[in-house]
């Protein structure tokens, strides 16, 4: 558990973050310039706060009134940076062992081989960082941080410098780390689908202040949070089960609760779970099932929430999992959609994006 109450003033930007983070994995979400990286830097000890306190699992790491400021190298907080920051003069093995070798045997909770296998970087050990691809660099950087057996792992937009294809190759590794290694994480991103792929627990930051902390499905109904999320591109993330592949026709049939969803062909095994992202703006609503339409997915659900943001209306529909559809205010008025109404969510197969291409 992390108790954060930190203030940092720099030029005309000021950050005042006050919150308690209790979930094992928290996605720190907010627009560029909101202060996400600054907050992470304050927690890691890279930047000194002007005032406040920081308590990690009962240990005070910073308190200006008690003049406590545990130095960076003694905090045992791992950081994965956006630009990986591998040491260019050391090969992959020496990079991985840099922090690992500084630990006494009893402080090593994770084995070298365990991490190398988990992240599939065994073949890279003798290479120098400049020989690695962007995705490989981030896997090594993740491994290097994990091997210090940190009490908390901070990930500062680790995928921001990668293209979409590489992102999808790294995301499963992050999920693996989350599932198989019991280390609390704070994952910073301005992409809501990345965060929701890893965790449903988010903290929303804007203009240097924490707007909300909690389950995404709950905090998203806060008008401020919704407005901000909408402006950053509201994505729905669904975890579905693979039923069958149709390679010739280029699609895969999956299941969400009792309904079937056709998605672009993936190579995941039958019965495995695949995560998808669908933009709220790519979901259309209908009051009845439509015949003679090319849209393959017509998912029935109940309207659970209606909220207006500017000229748009965001409608939450429970189709076995709550998803948000974005429509115009006029359409809602004309169709007379109300809370509790039964609607069909129309989603084109091609507007569904599988989030992780390897299982």
């Amino acid at each position: 558990m992390i108790d954060i109450d930190l203030t940092r003033v720099q030029g005309n930007f000021s950050l005042h973050a006050k919150c308690m983070l209790e979930a094992p994995v928290v996605g720190l979400f907010g627009p560029s310039g909101a202060g996400k990286s600054t907050l992470l830097g304050l927690i890691a000890g890279l930047i000194k706060p002007n005032a406040g306190h920081l308590i990690l699992n009962g240990e005070t790491l910073f308190n200006d009134k008690q003049a406590i400021n545990v130095p960076l190298h003694q905090r045992r907080i791992g950081v994965v940076f956006q630009d990986s920051r591998l040491f260019p003069h050391l090969n992959v093995r020496d990079n991985l062992e840099y922090g690992f070798n500084l630990l006494t045997a009893k402080d090593r909770h994770l084995g070298f081989n365990q991490i190398v296998e988990l992240l599939e970087i065994g073949k890279l050990l003798t290479q120098k960082p400049h020989q690695l691809s962007g995705g490989e660099k981030q896997r090594v950087a993740l491994g290097r941080a994990l091997l210090t057996s940190p009490r908390l792992l901070l990930l500062d937009e680790p995928l921001a410098s990668l293209d979409v294809r590489l992102k999808h190759q790294i995301l499963p590794f992050l999920r693996r780390v989350k599932d198989e290694i019991n280390i609390p994480m704070i994952y910073v991103s301005h992409a809501i689908d990345e965060i929701l792929y890893l965790t449903s627990h988010i903290a929303m930051l804007d203009h240097g202040e924490i707007l909300a902390v909690g389950q995404f499905n709950e905090v998203i109904h806060d008008q401020q949070v919704l407005t901000l999320a909408h402006s950053l591109g509201l994505e729905n993330v669904l975890h579905v089960q693979v039923l069958e592949h149709h390679p010739d026709d280029g699609f895969t049939v999956t299941r969400l609760a009792s309904q079937q969803i056709n998605i672009p062909l993936v190579n995941s095994a039958i019965a495995s779970i695949v995560s998808l992202s669908v933009a709220a703006s790519n979901i259309a609503l209908s009051t009845h099932k439509i015949k003679g339409v090319t849209i393959q997915n017509q998912l029935v659900g109940t309207v659970t929430n209606i909220q207006r943001v500017d000229t748009r209306v965001l409608i939450s529909v429970d189709i076995g999992h709550e998803i948000i559809a974005e429509v115009t205010a006029k359409a809602i008025h004309d169709m007379q959609i109300e809370l509790g109404a039964t609607v069909y969510c129309l989603i084109k197969t091609q507007s569904i994006h599988p989030l992780a291409t390897i299982a």
Partner: protein
């Protein structure tokens, strides 16, 4: 003497060569650690009197070499402030010895060493140093395992520049320790001496050629070492260019 040719060095010339090499080697060794320390201070720290220290270090570069030589004589000469004390306390005399020549060279070569190293240290990505600390390394360890290896090409350049400067040092040396054959008569002083005596032109020419060979060699070795060091830190072979 049957095999002696115009290119054969006389014993006095060999002695000048050996002395020059000895002085340059000791000078380079002497300024190695203080040079890196001062360069680190100037590159990384801000403190009261920093610009004064910076100017002081660079002073020998802009002054006529006779001036530092004369100041050294005032300080360390047998009648000098420190020289007298050394003489009375330990019975050590520095003036007019090869050790004095090393000190004169060191003062003149120090700014070159500091400039090159300072530039290299200031170019090391502070993000890498922060990353090393976040992995649990104490700042001192970070200096030796990250900052120093990544500055190595610049440090090597600085050392070679200092070595070459020391080989060529004339003004400060002759002012401080004189021109004593076998003790302080280094290559440049020997060349100067030969040009002052009738018929010494051939000997002077031999030493001029020798000086040029040594200088060229030093520069080529410097280039080679720098390339190797640059490759080692994974930046490719081109100076300062990132091939990754």
């Amino acid at each position: 003497m049957a095999t002696a040719t115009i290119f054969t060095l006389s014993p006095a010339e060999v002695e000048a060569l050996m002395l020059s090499t000895k002085v340059a080697v000791y000078c380079t060794l002497a300024i190695c650690i203080p040079g890196v320390a001062v360069a680190w201070l100037l590159a990384k720290k801000s403190f009261f009197g920093k610009s004064f220290l910076d100017s002081l270090v660079h002073l020998p570069l802009v002054l006529p070499p006779v001036v530092p030589g004369f100041l050294l004589l005032l300080l360390l000469g047998s009648q000098g402030f420190i020289g007298k004390w050394l003489q009375n306390t330990f019975g050590i005399s520095i003036a007019f010895t090869w050790i004095g020549a090393v000190i004169a060279s060191a003062v003149m070569a120090f700014p070159l060493m500091v400039r090159s190293t300072r530039l290299a240290i200031s170019q090391v990505d502070t993000g890498l140093e922060a990353a090393a600390q976040s992995l649990g390394a104490h700042p001192i360890r970070v200096f030796f395992t990250v900052t120093l290896p990544l500055s190595m090409p610049g440090i090597i350049t600085g050392l070679i520049l200092a070595f070459s400067r020391s080989l060529g040092e004339f003004g400060a040396t002759i002012t401080f320790v004189g021109n004593i054959e076998g003790e302080t008569r280094t290559l440049p002083l020997a060349i100067y001496t030969y040009t002052q005596v009738p018929g010494g032109d051939i000997a002077a020419m031999r030493l001029v050629i020798l000086s040029m060979v040594i200088a060229l060699g030093a520069l080529m070795i410097s280039d080679l070492l720098e390339r190797k060091a640059t490759q080692r830190i994974g930046r490719g072979v081109l100076h300062g260019k990132d091939t990754a």
